[in-house]
């Protein structure tokens, strides 16, 4: 059912150029752009990367990543000093670690259950998980405040974003690069190669002596950790968290970001997130008013149309389109290789 995926390795020069550009971005763009476009794209990209990591390397398309990041975000907001929630008033760094541990443990536990199903069933179970997390926090106001937890205490590295968004931007950038490189490196380890084996041929993996369920469970745990990182960063970004920010719409948005970028390459996560953030912010200005059909309020329609076009044009998303363009540019038309002459006649 899945197309055969080869997770190509990225190019270092391209990464260095992108990171260098990102590093000087604060000099080039407005605070608004730095915050609402770039910082948002970076943390949203991490959330999408956790989905793409599972899809590309383990062949598991999960809708549970927002559930996990919701848990991480809520855990963080409850553990530190904040307006609403439990207000445990921990040190923010300690709360950060606590939130990631909780997200990873929940991910491992839930992954252990979900790992037994595949394809559409896995999709449904993970979707149910995200919905469950949303309803849990909507209803347990002791943990989510009335309408959210506000004025969440942030760790020192973030600085005070209202006056200077640059430190938070750099923190998010560094974490995004670490996530990208870390997941890439992981894919080359014994565990990471095994995950790709599970993606391509689970029956062969069993025949070779691997415990496929355990591999899937751990892959889900790793993705949960990454989703947890995105969840905590989203709280840093918003300085608050509400049940509404981890609802079904957000689950679908993260899926859309991943699909727009491309489900088969990690880079796609940030390409998709940047595209999404740009459309989210600027579609109001770009889109002309056309009766009731189009208009500034039609952000979701626009994203939906883009989603549809990309899904139809390239299952590999924008990254896939880029790859096939580059392939055309790089390989000039060659005559087909001559068929080898058989040595014996059948």
């Amino acid at each position: 059912m899945n197309p055969i995926v080869s997770t190509k390795r990225f190019s270092w020069p391209a990464l260095i150029v992108v990171v260098a550009l990102a590093a000087i971005a604060p000099l080039l763009v407005s605070d608004f752009f730095l915050n609402s476009i770039l910082t948002k794209a970076l943390w949203l990209g991490i959330a999408a990367a956790s989905l793409i990591f599972l899809a590309a390397y383990a062949g598991m398309v999960s809708l549970g990543q927002v559930g996990i990041y919701g848990i991480a975000g809520m855990a963080y907001a409850n553990l530190v000093l904040a307006d609403g929630g439990a207000g445990a008033a921990w040190n923010p760094y300690l709360a950060l670690i606590g939130a990631l541990v909780i997200a990873t443990v929940v991910g491992l536990g839930f992954g252990w259950i979900a790992a037994r199903s595949e394809g559409i069933y896995f999709l449904m179970i993970t979707l149910a998980f995200s919905v469950l997390v949303y309803y849990f926090f909507s209803q347990v106001t002791g943990l989510s405040g009335f309408g959210g937890i506000n004025s969440v205490d942030l760790p020192g590295v973030v600085g005070s974003p209202e006056t200077d968004p640059v430190p938070r931007y750099f923190l998010t950038l560094v974490v995004a690069v670490l996530v990208f490189l870390g997941l890439g490196a992981l894919s080359r380890t014994a565990f990471g190669l095994g995950m790709q084996g599970v993606r391509d041929e689970p029956a062969r993996m069993r025949a070779l002596g691997f415990d496929v369920t355990r591999h899937r469970t751990l892959a889900f745990g790793v993705a949960a950790f990454v989703a947890g990182v995105a969840g905590v960063l989203s709280v840093f970004y918003n300085t608050r968290i509400t049940p509404g920010s981890i609802n079904l719409a957000q689950t679908i948005d993260v899926l859309i970001v991943a699909v727009i970028g491309g489900l088969y390459r990690l880079e796609g996560a940030w390409v998709g997130a940047l595209t999404y953030a740009l459309i989210d912010n600027y579609s109001r200005e770009w889109v002309p008013e056309v009766g009731n059909v189009l208009g500034p309020a039609r952000f979701n329609t626009l994203i939906g149309v883009l989603f549809l076009i990309i899904v139809l044009a390239s299952p590999g998303g924008l990254i896939g389109i880029w790859d096939s363009l580059m392939a055309k540019v790089r390989t000039p038309r060659r005559a087909p290789a001559p068929k080898p002459v058989p040595q014996t006649i059948e």
Partner: protein, 259 residues
Amino acid sequence: MATPATAAEPAILRLSGIDRRFGGVHAVRGVDLEVRPGERRAVLGPNGAGKTTVFNLISGEFPPSSGRVELFGHDVTNLPARKRARMGLSRTFQTSRLFAGLSVEDNLFLGALGVGAGHLRMVPSSKDGRLREQARAMASQVGLDSRLDDLVMDLSHGEQRQLEVGMALVAEPKLLMLDEPAAGLSRAERVKLTEMLLGLDESITLILIEHDMDVALRVAQWVTMMHDGAVIVEGTPEEIRGNQTVHDLYLGSGLISHE
């Protein structure tokens, strides 16, 4: 050539009264089979005879509807495939089941890793180096040393079949089961495969499903003939060659008429 019936060593594999149904299809009916250490056994029979299903029952792909599977002297009837693999059983699949998105070397790396420890290792280690050496050595044994870095999806059919055998061998099995390894190979490739099988370490027990009589009867010391889910004849290659039932079945299905 010693026949299994006279050998004194205990069986490495024993099937007793194995049955397997798929809904209405009775794919395997009351099969008894004994294979001794170091033996070279061929399983023959027309398409649909139940040969692959017997392999799946031995490797633990699914359990038998009834009957008992013993491997290396242990009852493994209810043991999952991965545990049987770790006991020293390797198999290939009739239609290649390779990791299409990984390179030849990475495929063989996983083949070598599977029976070892450290499946969940998330950091590079010197153990990886040893597994990679094993993988590369196996690649040259099956004639793929020039394609180490190529993705499996870019290999030809013949190369994929060679890798399929390599994937089973790289785990250094005690019992090796090959399901039609020569299917779709050119004559030259089949000759190479036969040479490779004849050159296998004597300690390896081999069970081979093969339609190509040239390959099967050259490699095997003892032949089990299946039809309609049951074993109908057992004997030496010479006996099988001269057996009328075998001829009827194979000539009837046109399998050796063109040779």
